[in-house]
Symmetry: C2
Subunit: 164 residues, 2 copies
DNA sequence: AAAAACTATGTGCAAATGCATATTCTTTTC
DNA sequence: GAAAAGAATATGCATTTGCACATAGTTTTT
């Protein structure tokens, strides 16, 4: 049947919908915030045990799969203010989890590397991250998961300003 | 063909996957963080113009569609620490955007109501929120949007601890 | 090749945040 | 029905955050 699609606001409809018309429970940003809130809460205790904040944890995660990024790029990947990341990196370096290396071609720039201790810290946390991930996808079959991730990838392409 | 599904970790596979095996760009929490980071950045300027922080904006949004919730429930909806929300509400009340009313049946509890000024503030912000929403879904057709939101709803049901 | 514009990172400072706990009330237990 | 346990909200305090700007270096312009 032709039920109105609450996520399509670009059609022939005249007035834009209100949040009440869409409904909080059908508004994707609301749902994504709620879900990510739980994901973060699931990690909190283990992060605290390692002395990690969210930006520090994200930096370790990205560095575990990306070698030697610039701080600016790491800020994009981790969705962290550059100034906040700068201080998070101070702490991670003090903890011996990361190492800052001056970029050989641009003396303003700094590249970042995980130390073995940093990799160990991330590997300590990873099972918890994976468990939180699996928890959110419980009961959702492989096809639906794949479609969901594919949509997320399109969405990131839509919104990102950087080519990374 | 039978390509391994990087989002399914519950099958016959022995070792749990690493983040490198899944790939950052296929790890849903990473994608969701990146996308929500842009959504929030899109709202930032308009929020600042109204003197709103993220918790204050979320409180207005939820109150615009939910009448008289308890503070504790509003904290769940807005994914905000109760203490943070308490102070956000102080500010919203000082701005004349919300009103705290003692619950008639439980004198510990407080119910919250949007004032007309608060509704106006939210309605000022809403077009920006809707534009950011539409931006992330650009080029994604109605069916895919519906499927995506349906998956999000299942995920929220999976992770939420409260019946709201 | 000097000036201007831009880029990468760090820092001062006020504000926001989160944890632990206080306070006040309600519900359960014995 | 008194005591204990639990719940709703607020607050003290240390930490984190974000904005604005400083600093140092690079690229573009003329």
């Amino acid at each position: 049947m032709d039920r109105p699609d609450p996520t399509n606001h670009g059609g022939a409809r005249q007035a834009p919908p209100t949040l009440a018309e869409i409904g909080l429970a059908a508004y994707a940003p609301y749902l994504m915030n709620r879900i990510m809130g739980r994901y973060n809460a699931d990690l909190r205790e283990d992060m605290a045990a390692l002395g990690l904040t969210t930006p520090k944890m994200r930096a370790l995660a990205v560095l575990s799969v990306t070698d030697g990024p610039l701080i600016r790029d790491l800020a994009v990947y981790t969705v962290t203010e550059q100034s906040t990341l700068s201080r998070a990196l101070d702490q991670l370096a003090a903890d011996g989890f990361v190492q800052r290396e001056p970029d050989p071609d641009d003396s303003r720039a700094t590249r970042l590397y995980l130390t073995p201790a940093g990799r160990t810290a991330f590997e300590t946390l990873w099972p918890t991250m994976l468990a939180a991930h699996d928890h959110m996808f419980r009961g959702i079959d492989a096809g639906e998961r794949r479609a969901f991730v594919a949509t997320l990838q399109k969405m990131l392409k839509n919104v990102r300003r950087h080519e990374i």
